[in-house]
């Protein structure tokens, strides 16, 4: 958080059908529907999140990610980072307050990887959902499905990893938490963090820019991950892989698809970092174990199915 970028705040996904997407994210993942807007977008949040929304769904002709937003500490910081982005050579688009309902002014830029990101300082503080502000109970009793705890991170596929790393570390204050290197020492995967978390955003090298691999939501325990897997079967949801453990980050995980083919992850556990930690390195030749710690073999679909 060296530059004032605090955490992932939201992600806007394109879906082919809004109602089936809503059934997936609300009823299966257990996100809370909080609002809709005149563009037909639906806003959701996970119950422990303090701001109004973290996931925005938009119906479109192709699935994928429109943008991912990071919250910065205050408006002064937003102004400073905007100038830093411009000085670095980024094209900036300012989106006025209220374009996303309840969110302040957003500053959007495109990373060299082709993905759109944005920064914002203000979003309506609605508090954790379903629990009181004073003497809060452990959890709300009327959560649905997987009872997702929070929007945690997203993984992007694209090229220009070094330039993207540069932008995220030098301008935005992320640090490299974990990486995958090939035999030549070229970084083919980079996990970037703002906090003690294993990752807040990650990039894997792919020849085509701007592709989306998955959006990830945090669960509390391994038991919750198994329960999520049960729900995936009960709803005949298309599964990708898991439940298993990652080598990278050591998180316990399951991957599946929303009805439009956007990949989702729910996970628990995983490594932590402090400022004195060195980046963790995996070798590309051991990518099978790095990604799927138990099978130690890559599921090709995991590498090639993108939206």
């Amino acid at each position: 958080m060296k530059k004032g970028v605090m955490r992932p705040g939201h992600i806007q996904l394109r879906v082919l059908n809004l109602e089936s997407a809503l059934a997936h994210y609300r009823d299966l993942l257990g996100l809370i529907e909080v609002d809709r807007d005149d563009f037909g977008r639906v806003y959701l949040k996970a119950w422990t999140e303090v701001d109004k929304f973290s996931l925005v769904l938009r119906e479109a002709d192709e699935p994928g990610m429109d943008f991912m937003g990071f919250k910065v500490i205050d408006d002064e910081c937003l102004v400073r980072l905007t100038q830093d982005l411009i000085d670095y050579g980024c094209l900036i688009e300012t989106i006025p307050a209220g374009e996303l309902r309840g969110c302040g002014r957003r500053v959007r830029f495109q990373a060299p990887s082709g993905h759109f990101f944005e920064l914002y300082a203000d979003k309506q503080y609605t508090g954790k959902w379903g629990v009181e502000e004073i003497n809060p109970e452990a959890w709300p009793r009327n959560l649905q499905g997987m009872r997702a705890v929070r929007f945690d991170h997203a993984l992007m596929y694209g090229d220009e990893l070094p330039a993207t790393h540069d932008l995220f570390t030098k301008v935005l204050g992320f640090y490299l938490a974990e990486q995958v290197l090939d035999e030549d020492g070229t970084r083919v995967a980079q996990f970037l963090s703002l906090s003690t978390k294993a990752h807040d955003v990650a990039f894997i090298h792919h020849p085509e820019k701007g592709r989306f691999h998955h959006v990830s939501f945090y669960l509390e325990t391994w038991e919750d991950v198994l329960r999520a897997a049960d729900l995936i079967s009960m709803t005949d949801t298309s599964i990708d892989i898991g439940p298993t453990r990652h080598g990278l980050t050591h998180g316990k995980t399951i991957y599946f698809f929303d009805p439009s083919g956007n990949r989702n992850e729910v996970f628990c556990g995983g490594d932590y970092n402090y400022q004195d930690h060195k980046p963790v390195t995996w070798m590309a030749k051991d990518l099978g174990k790095a990604i799927f710690y138990h099978d130690r073999v890559l599921n090709e679909r995991f590498l090639t199915v993108l939206t």
């Binding site: 082919l16 439009s260 083919g261 679909r301 939206t307």
Partner: protein, 112 residues
């Protein structure tokens, strides 16, 4: 599966399988253990199961315009997970030449 439904034939592999009313071509293929079309997201989004429908009637579900541009839909281009047969169908798997998937190693499953 019994004889109800429609016969779907993938011409490159010569494999055929039965598809029930309301079932997608990809669902039917997977249910019968055939592997003539690669399976991705099963949601019309990722483009992995792209096929050309060579003959027969079918209903189309929603599919990503990134993989199936509307102008090509009339030429039978489709994603098998979103093709719902309404007669016997012959399809051709287009996986070998699909764009944007150059590093997909599943292509070996499609005989050339």
């Amino acid at each position: 599966m019994n004889s109800a439904g429609y016969e779907v034939c993938e011409v490159l592999s010569g494999q055929s399988f039965r598809c029930a009313e309301g079932q997608s071509v990809l669902q039917a293929m997977e249910a019968q253990g055939k592997r003539c079309v690669p399976v991705g997201c099963r949601g019309g989004g990722c483009g992995l199961c792209k096929v050309r429908v060579l003959g027969g009637d079918y209903r189309r579900g929603r599919m990503s315009c990134h993989h199936v541009p509307p102008e090509l839909a009339s030429q039978g281009l489709a994603l098998a997970c979103q093709v719902f047969p309404q007669s016997d169908l012959s399809i051709e798997c287009l996986r070998r030449n699909g764009e944007g998937d150059k590093n997909n190693k599943m292509k070996q499953e499609v005989p050339s």
